[in-house]
Symmetry: C2
Subunit: 225 residues, 2 copies
């Protein structure tokens, strides 16, 4: 158990909480360490939604099945990442997703109800924990907002430019570096890599853009295209 404290203190969920407080906190929250074999579920859809999980080792997958059993992968989580907050905090009765171990994994399960309501005046880490959850959810919200804005553009070119303009703004310069490669960027924007490549070439030839690898430079010629 103690062996995982060094992982936990690095996890965003526990940011600001000292390692020596960890044990008391886990006790207060009713934390349970569980081992899950590769392919086995951490929990299944329909489980009461009051769990927050933290991956300690291995890796897990959050999946959702539709009405006809077609399965889609919502996210893949590495050690240190947490899952389930959104469902538990949204006030759902039951989990709308299942979580499976992709490798043999260790997972810490917390009871979300205890996090949100109990004893907030005695444990000082309690409000810290809530703020961390809040911060995580809020950041995901912002990330989603951006992604949806890019994806809502009609054409590949518009999606790409919307993204690049945002990057320029965030990094405060028309010259900047994007955090991923072409394929990953295309996937993120919901476009085809080859179509995106073609658009980039066109923009280059038109003198509106320069790029090499993950480095981009926008020329100051834009208004509304």
């Amino acid at each position: 158990m103690e062996q995982y404290f060094s992982i936990l203190v690095q996890c965003p969920l526990f940011s600001g909480i000292e390692q020596e407080d960890m044990k008391a906190m886990l006790k207060c929250l009713g934390g349970k360490f569980i081992s899950v074999s590769k392919g086995d579920p951490v929990f299944l859809e329909g489980t009461p939604a009051q769990l927050v999980g933290v991956v300690l080792s291995g890796g897990v997958q959050v999946v959702q099945d539709d009405y006809y059993g077609n399965r889609s992968v919502l996210s893949i989580l590495q050690p240190g990442e947490s899952f389930g907050e959104a469902f538990s905090c949204a006030g759902l009765e039951n989990m709308p997703v299942s979580v499976f171990a992709m490798k043999d994994s260790q997972v810490l399960l917390l009871n979300c109800g205890r996090i949100l309501t109990l004893c907030s005046h005695t444990c000082h880490f309690h409000s810290l924990l809530i703020q961390n959850i809040l911060k995580g959810l809020a950041q995901k919200n912002l990330a989603f907002t951006q992604k949806v804005r890019y994806m809502s553009q009609k054409t590949t070119k518009e999606k790409l430019l919307a993204y690049l303009f945002d990057q320029a703004k965030q990094q405060g310069s028309a010259e900047f570096v994007v955090p991923c490669e072409r394929q990953a960027l295309a996937d993120y924007l919901g476009v085809e890599r080859t179509a995106m490549s073609a658009e980039i070439s066109k923009l280059k030839k038109a003198g509106l853009l320069d790029t090499k690898g993950s480095w981009f430079c926008l020329k100051h010629v834009y208004q509304n295209n």
Copy 2:
């Protein structure tokens, strides 16, 4: 001021808080009621991100400008709705958006820092408020997750079916009613209304679907298309 308490108690942000507690709470949180004329800003991009706003009357618009000044509308808020939580809770230094009044409006501004940290042991509504914010953010997260999942499908048909399958599942029946009209549904899915209409017709002719207005019925024939 008191005149707005009846609006506030209906607002999701203050759900569970009694009208008689409202005054004390607003004092504790440093709430400020402000009037904004049509077209004027509630706040501008760059303002320190620690505000949460609640629309009391009129209506406001959240807008974001890109690096070259192209403006896009992120959301439109009616009385009772709140804004700014995501930015404040995400730990941003400054607001990345501006908020403008679309009509003459009354707005309540709260200091998010006070909500999250102060005096959580004395005011019992404090933890309620935090839970309400948490719940709101979590619900938006789930909504975004779904929307992104639909929009990530390649074709109009796939986007539509992903949505319909989800609706069937959520409503627990292959027969269900969608909460909006064709045009709004198309906009939400990021497709063209006419293309969507065409797909619906095809599915109907293929006997996979029946629909009239907002009523839909999926036939049990699907596996993976």
